[in-house]
């Protein structure tokens, strides 16, 4: 047990408020339940037989070296890969008990339910208000008062309200990078999703903004199921209840974050989190 002790001896950074890294999630209902997923771009297989349960109202971090398939996996969860020519997926992916790979599934409804935040902040070249109101508007909401209330509550949830309350109708492009990213989170919240997918949401931000986003994740996870892809292991250890390690298109190991970072079962996982490759 020489190896085990050496790992457990390492310090893991403190978690953000609201995240219990030793949480036993086995009692939680699964928000997402992936069983035997294989994914192909044309002839090339990029995901091999992935099976993973994401417990409701928790944060699951997907880590792994770049090109390991973690982003691809994330994008299958709301079928963003449909937009790529030649993408093909087999296996079961149950979101709240329904297989979303079913061709009869309506992707518009699915994406409303499973929101996504991207690595690069992508504000639409419109006002802050119009950005947040976009989702409800395309879904048919026209009542201005309802929209205003929704925009306010979402901006508050995304911890952006105090900074932008006076300039809701100015262009969103004028916000700073961190503010833009929080705006994108607010915009996602406005469609009232149950699940939020985050694809390296803080990798393009400065440390202070990253901090705010991480704290935000801690606050949101009491109401939303969050799956976050990150290449920053410190971040994964800070914000997640559960961590899944991907390597070369396979899910190597998945478990409570504290366990993965202190006493991983697999050698590859340990090599990765101790920085021997990556």
């Amino acid at each position: 047990m020489l190896m085990g002790s050496s790992v457990s001896g390492r310090s893991v950074p403190p978690s953000v408020p609201g995240v219990d890294r030793n949480l036993d999630t086995s009692g939680h209902a699964a928000a997402i339940d992936v069983q035997g997923m294989n994914f192909y771009y044309g002839e090339q297989q990029v995901l091999f037989d992935i099976s993973l349960k994401v417990p409701e109202r928790s944060v699951t971090a997907l880590i792994g070296p770049s090109g390991c398939g973690k982003s691809t996996f994330l994008r299958t969860l709301n079928r963003m890969n449909d937009l790529v020519d030649g993408a093909r997926c087999t296996g079961l992916c149950l979101v709240e008990g329904q297989n979303i790979m079913d061709p009869a599934v309506d992707v518009v409804l699915l994406r409303k339910h499973v929101g996504m935040v991207f690595q690069k902040s992508t504000p639409f070249p419109k006002s802050i208000f119009d950005n947040v109101a976009y989702g409800p508007r395309v879904a048919g909401e026209k009542n201005r008062a309802v929209l205003a209330e929704l925009v306010e509550s979402c901006l508050k949830k995304a911890a952006l309200w105090d900074e932008v309350r006076d300039r809701l109708h100015t262009s969103a492009m004028a916000l700073s990078g961190g503010q833009q990213q929080r705006l994108c989170i607010a915009r996602t919240l406005a469609t009232n999703p149950k699940i939020i997918l985050m694809d390296e949401p803080a990798s393009a931000l400065d440390p202070a903004s990253t901090d705010r986003i991480e704290n935000l994740i801690g606050e949101l996870c009491s109401n939303y199921t969050i799956v976050i892809v990150t290449h920053n292991m410190q971040q994964a250890s800070r914000v997640s209840h559960q961590t899944a390690f991907f390597f070369r298109g396979r899910l190597v190991e998945c478990g409570p974050t504290m366990k993965i970072f202190t006493s991983p079962v697999e050698k590859q996982t340990e090599d990765y989190i101790t920085g021997r490759f990556g």
């Binding site: 939680h28 928790s58 329904q98 009869a104 518009v108």
Partner: protein
Amino acid sequence: MSVAGGELAGSIPPVSFTLGADGQIRQRLRLSRGFMWLCRLATYASLLVLAVLLLSIVWNSVGRLRWDFLSSHYSMQPDRCGILAGLWGTFWLVLLTATFSIPVGVGSAVYLEELAKDTWLMRVIRVNLSNLAGVPSIVYGILGLTAFRPLVIQLQSVFDGRHAVNVLGLFRVRLLKLDIYDGSVLIGAMTMSLVILPTVIIASQEALRAVPSTIRVASLALGATRWQTIWRQVLPASLPGIATGVILSISRAMGEAAPLMMIGVLTVASMCPGGIESPGQLLSDPGRLLSVPFDQFTAMPVEIYDWSKQPDPQDRFTAVAASGILVLLAVLLTVNAAAMIVRYRAGRQLRW
């Protein structure tokens, strides 16, 4: 703030993702599909228009389109009327236009892209260029009519057969007597060169810009001068792009009639420039070449305009005009096919 799963699980309302679950979504999807079909319709309508246009012209050309249409001059009899003069006129016009506009156009592009520094004068030239490209061709016609015609009148008085030139004070050469007309091929080509020059320059600039700067740096680093780099590396590399742009501009010059109408080319012509009516005559009597630029001429689009406008109650010139259009389109197609082959070949050879 740890969460126990059991108590909260029931609070999430079940959502069905399957199609048909939500009438509102179904309606949005219908709208989306309707919009796609509208856009598709708009796109394919252009294909339909092209087909109808070509068919209507072929249909109208029935009754005149025979081989002798290519070898006949203008005639009051639609059955005998042909496009020979326009064919030769367009040929000479385009030849001279290319001679003027290619060196000047490519030269300007090279200067602007490779040599010019970013001074206010260069900025003026660049802005001016994009504006010139938007000037209607008929305005160039006014320029040709007003500025180039007096030039010819000057030439007329020099080449009237009475003047002699003193060569280096050693001997005198009597100038030939040349009939110089003011609606001449030369004037037409000068005007047309100005019309297509902005397009030639802009296309060449784009081709030069597509050459990666690593080539220039590598060449300069090997001790080549600026000009050697341009002449031996940059120009050859961008040649396919330049050629494509030039050919497309030339094909525009073939179809333009407005500036030619302005400078007063013939609409009814029964002679070809220089009297050359077949390639054989060109070889047997090359001396005629000298008078080509100074002769009056007509061009295919001008003839087509004239035939289309013939006030003829029985519409007998419609078939002539349609046949003329088919000949013009065939020539344009050949030229454009050449451009496409150049582009295709270059695309296979050069990959940055």
